[in-house]
Amino acid sequence: MSALPAVLVLMALQAAAAAGDGARPPLSVPYETFRLANGLTVIVHEDHTAPLVSVNTYYHVGSGRERPGRTGFAHLFEHLMFEGSKNVPEGAFDQWLEAAGGSNNGSTNGDRTNYWENAPAGALELPLFLESDRMGFLLDAMSPEKVNGQRDVVKNERRQSYENRPYGMADLAIPDALYPPDHPYHWPTIGSMEDLSAASYEDVVDFFKKWYGPANASVVIAGDVDTARARALAEKWFGAIPRSVPVEPLTPRPVVLAAEKRLLLEDQVELPRLYLAWPAPEHYAAGEAALIALGDILADGKNARLYRRLVYDLQVAQDVSAYVDSGALASTFNVVVTARTGHTLEEIRRLVDGEIDRVKREAPSVREMQRFQNQSEAEMLRGLERVGGFGGKADQLNQYYLYTGDPDYFEEELASYRALAPSDVRAAAQFYLGPGRVVVSVVPRGKQDLGVAVAAGGGK
């Protein structure tokens, strides 16, 4: 009885969606960019909506540049950047910024280390002073004591984010199994406890000199600021920092696994969880957009294929996710499923593989593709509402600049999704989601039988 009206409604919605897309102007976040004589790239974006500014700095160095025996160092270094510099006493970075109504944070991944300060528009010079002082004069105030203090904090971060967090150790095991030992993504950004213990004051000096020069950084100034003034202030605060030797970017190094690797971890968890990880092409390379679409079509929403089958219909799983974890050198396509009580990860694996085999045979429907494209566009628009912080416009401009050379890559990213045909997604599944992958089972202690069997001699 309800079938006919439902069909009519769907047709109406498709018409509405198509009409909306046809009228849509290209998405753009206007900016100006310039390079100081010392090699620093500055990007300015004006948004006068609120009396706020954000200064977002990327150093083009991440854990991928670490040496053996010093894993976790890029992230430890990120912590040390907040401990004061020549003209900023220890503790003052945060004290001065907060007293002006500003906030800050930083993060590290395999490719880059980023820092942002959000501040009232009238306080813009303060973050520029703070950021430039540590870019120019960090070592004048560095000491072994500071290294020891932040070493403890970072070890606590590792305990809190991995060791004491259910399933946390899987995040450390996957890159270890997926990438060969000499690949920059082989070790986790948080590092090992032994390597964190070994990090020294001398390491800090070397790392700063090698990677933290202006020629290896980009600064976005965004918000309630006039472009000419932002340019003058960037020049004023950063201009006198000596030029640094430009750093050659690493060459992308996507990997291929010859065969499946299986691992099994016991953890203090109630339910077993299955992780599948396949090698994927690097960020914004050909093939990545199709895999991003595939992740969405598999796991985003009740009608997504894996969600529908495992969580909605069979109800053998509590949750499922599928996504690309992107990097400049290589990416990973992940499927993660938490099994319900009474279901083994072998059962889950078979069901997941069944759906992946199906998408290799049958391309997604046109509606599945449009749903993904419409959701991507909406998600990107939502991201434009914030200027500062992680994922705000300032951060996104810098992220696009690092990975593509074009800060205003918003429309290009959307276009890469719109250009996809259903057969592209099927082809990506066929090409990338082959037998060479990492399978990690995390099971409650003493319940190894709930995991996918690790064959004798198999695994890592």
Partner: protein, 478 residues
């Protein structure tokens, strides 16, 4: 790059000039006087059935946020039906307006829309976020979800399994175990002692009829209002009328929740997590309600105590002692009362020392701070306030809060001057709201390692509890 080449030339000369006159770094730049936070006006309308509409135009991004807010939440749950308001909200989009759960989700997802349903203590929300080009068809779906839910029995069983399984998973998450234990210990038999989302026992007993009855009783225009924020104008009102105007008039009874009784004395609840790398530390108290006249002073005090990076708790436990990755504190304000809590996840072997420092800071906040500390805290709170109003969703949430709690129309525009007027004596006075003498301490950690030193602190009667004591027997979900 679009603008790089010509600018590079222009800058070369400026760079040469700047290099000759090094900038003075001997003191940090002094900020200009803060620019005022100017929020767009709230425009008010009323639909034919009496449903109020509050509209705020924000045209910078072509998105719209529409929220239907019901003035009934978890505080309305009847005895023995804990989690009813939340389960009702949770089930709204599992089949409505003649579409089953899958068809509804497909229609919403296809539009790039997000429809979210939730209940908090004092209200329930059905919200929509969508590109404005697809607002009109989305409004019909939003109205279906909010006004015409079907509560299908099969979907109810599925959602129940999901919720019970989430409670099972929570047993392995130390922070969640601590949160349940803290609420129970602070509020006892009061409704606030149990989670918004209910317990294993209450969720197992809920029936679709209960949800239908809750919806029938509380989801009425007289108990609701609409908040619309984004790239829209008053021209949207006829669309709202079309979607919501047919909703039959009606009122609903208000929740009657007594104020929770304050704690007397202190005890320590210890929950074993064998082999844990960290101990989860929480100190909790009964706190003031949203209507407290001390709101601005409390927020400044809490910023200094535990809601900023330089706060005393974070500085002490993280920066000075290296016990934790972070430490903080917060007030949760509700209609009938609230909760204060201080929190840190600390290294196992330093548990007792970290607790000692935490208690010390909670006590010390009631003695006068330095003027510089208070100035920093109130500036941080007041001058970063604009960041709470960046997204349409944030703004809609603020407008909803203002209406539900009956805050004055100028509450947000007067926040900055009022926070900036808080002085040292007021901060010390409201420091009493963090007094650890009348409080509950919860520790989830490796009992074998931490118990002897915790007992030696004499921080209060030690009550050893198990995860089963806190969360009940593990739910059986197949």
């Amino acid at each position: 790059m679009r603008a790089a080449a010509p600018l590079l030339l222009a800058l070369a000369t400026a760079a040469a000039a700047a290099a000759q006159t090094p900038v003075d770094r001997s003191h940090p730049p002094v900020p200009e006087a803060p620019r005022p936070l100017r929020l767009p006006a709230v425009q008010r309308f009323t639909l034919g059935n009496g449903l109020p509409v509050l509209l705020m135009e924000r045209h910078q991004v072509p998105m719209a946020e529409v929220r239907l807010v019901l003035r009934s939440g978890a505080a309305t749950d009847p005895l023995g039906r804990t989690g009813l308001a939340a389960a009702t909200a949770d089930m709204l989009d599992e089949g409505a307006g003649g579409k089953d759960a899958l068809a509804l989700a497909d229609a919403i997802d296809f539009l790039g829309a997000e429809v979210r349903t939730s209940a908090s203590w004092d209200y329930s929300t059905v919200s929509l976020s969508v590109p404005v080009t697809r607002l009109e068809p989305s409004l019909g779906l939003l109205a279906d979800v909010a006004l015409r839910p079907d509560f299908p029995a099969a979907e109810m069983e599925r959602v129940r399994k999901r919720a019970l399984t989430a409670l099972l998973e929570a047993r392995a998450v130390p922070g969640q175990v601590a949160a349940y234990a803290l609420a129970q210990a602070v509020f006892g038999q009061h409704r606030y002692g149990l989670p918004v989302t209910g317990t294993t026992a209450s969720l197992s007993a809920l029936r679709a009829e209960d949800l239908r009855a809750f919806h029938t009783q509380y989801y009425h225009p007289g108990n609701a209002f609409l908040v619309v924020v984004g790239d829209v104008t008053p021209a949207v009102v006829p669309l709202l009328e079309k979607a919501f105007g047919g909703w039959a008039k009606g009122d609903a009874p208000a929740a009657r929740v007594p104020a929770p009784a304050p704690l007397k004395g202190r005890r320590l609840v210890l929950i074993d997590k064998p082999g844990a790398a960290q101990s989860v530390l929480r100190v909790g108290r009964v706190g003031p309600s949203r209507a407290t006249p001390d709101y601005h002073a409390l927020e400044v005090m809490n910023t200094l105590l535990g809601a900023s990076f330089t706060s005393r708790l974070n500085d002490n436990l993280r920066e000075q002692h290296g016990y934790a990755y972070g430490a903080g504190s917060s007030f949760g304000y509700r209609q009938a009362g609230g909760v204060f809590q201080a929190a840190a996840d600390v290294q196992t072997q330093s548990t007792a020392e970290a607790l000692t420092e935490m208690l010390k800071e909670l006590q010390r906040i009631a003695t006068p701070a330095t003027p510089a500390e208070v100035e920093r805290a109130r500036n941080y709170l007041a001058l970063s306030y604009a960041e709470d109003f960046e997204t349409n969703g944030q703004v809609a949430g603020k407008v909803a809060e203002q209406v539900v709690y009956g805050l004055p129309d100028d509450f947000y525009s007067s926040f900055v001057p009022k926070a900036l007027a808080v002085g040292v004596p007021e901060v010390a006075r409201v420091g009493a709201f963090a007094d650890p003498a009348d409080a509950v301490i919860v520790v989830v950690g490796d009992r074998k390692t931490i118990e002897p030193k915790l007992r030696a602190l004499n921080a209060g009667e030690v009550q050893v509890r198990t995860v089963d004591d806190v969360l009940g027997r593990p739910p059986r979900v197949q």
